[in-house]
Symmetry: C2
């Protein structure tokens, strides 16, 4: 069996963030599998078949990739950001575990990428420069109560935070509740960063205090970062810098 599956991270958007090992995997592939906008980032070439699929069909896509590899194809499953952070790697392993026993012998590897939270952090300064957590705010795959519980504990732990999928058309209200939970446990001066379309030409970084934050500042293309109680703002002529010091004062 000479097929393989590589689950590869394309990074947050700009091409210069794609690691050489991911570029090389794509060059070796016979098939690219992924959500439509990610597959469209791959240049077509002879010998390469592009398989676009909608979102919300992650398990179908994963099974398709594994079956093609079992048939000897060299398959790259493309994710944006890092495939191991709220992306395709877990879906592929779910499919592998539940699927044909022979799939366990397949060569399946994950190549990391720059995840949106860390690209947003770099664009703003270093707000995640101390202990932090990452929470997916979508309640499609977990109960809302668990999201709220994690938020409250993260506030109590004084983690900086990165929020993925803060708000969508199907979930317009959850993020307002997130802001309410933050306001119960954090001072009004707490720093938030709304990073939209990070590392693309449409990138927009807005730094606000918790008191000024509104739900409408987030959408599906936004990653929201919340500083810890120690996070600082450096004002200057250009964009401000937000960072969390290494020491706890």
């Amino acid at each position: 069996m000479s097929g393989w599956v590589i689950i590869a991270g394309l990074g947050p958007g700009r091409e210069s963030c794609i690691t050489p090992e991911v570029t090389e995997a794509i060059a070796q592939a016979t098939d690219i599998v992924g959500y439509i906008p990610y597959v469209r980032r791959i240049a077509p070439r002879a010998g390469l078949t592009l398989h676009e699929s909608d979102n919300r069909v992650e398990l179908d896509r994963a099974r398709h990739a594994l079956q093609m590899a079992a048939d000897g194809r060299r398959v790259v499953v493309v994710s944006s950001g890092d495939p191991g952070v709220f992306a395709m790697a877990s879906a592929v392993f779910e499919a592998l575990e539940a699927g044909d026993a022979t799939w366990r012998a397949l060569d399946v590897r994950v190549l990391p990428g720059i995840t949106a939270m860390l690209a947003a952090s770099a664009a703003a300064g270093a707000p995640l420069g101390h202990d932090f957590c990452a929470i997916n705010l979508s309640d499609n795959l977990k109960p809302w109560d668990l999201i709220e519980k994690r938020l409250r504990l993260a506030v109590e732990a004084d983690f900086a935070m990165g929020f993925y999928n803060p708000r969508s058309k199907a979930r317009p209200d959850g993020f307002a509740r997130v802001l309410d939970v933050l306001r119960e446990g954090c001072a009004p001066e707490r720093l938030l960063i709304f990073a939209r379309a990070v590392s693309t030409p449409e990138q927009k970084i807005d730094v606000v205090r918790l008191a000024e934050a509104t739900p409408e500042m987030a959408d599906m293309r936004t990653v929201v970062l919340v500083g810890s109680s120690q996070t600082r703002l450096i004002e200057r002529a250009g964009d401000p810098i937000v960072y969390t010091p290494r020491s706890v004062s």
Copy 2:
């Protein structure tokens, strides 16, 4: 003023994880500043001055970089992993905030890299595929009580976890206490991953249950990942796969 400072992530070890934008920044630099082993990853060339420094002098190094940029030099501060995750970005911004007011006008940027935790996660499967946190276990810059508090809250939140700097010669005992805290709140079957020298030729990934974990499994080159209560192990002929499903059951 034509100088600049770029704080760049070299990724966890292998060259194929360095993003093209970081490679380009190094190509444009007149000066490279960093901890000795990271600077030694940069190929010498005419016109490029390499400034190696010991660890524990991060602020001196940061001031040096900023002063050189103020003098018109093009300076890359190299970090391993991602500079925004327990690395040099926060140190540079601490120095900038406390330093000469003219430094605020400098062109200072952060280029993200693949952080060790996410490279380790990719090597093991997708153990951080659901909500997770990152904790630096060194108490050099924060009180030990805060580390324990964060650990207990992270266990209560059922985050997967990534631990940086779990153990060193100067801090031989802290990681034993970390394992004790985990044992208070997690089942003996909880999955841990000890990822040593991740993405280098010496990479070693050990997957163990909490009941079997010992402090000696970690050292300064190890990143430790702890699964959530949902994290699963797929046994197979080769290395096992550890992943956290996207859904909470």
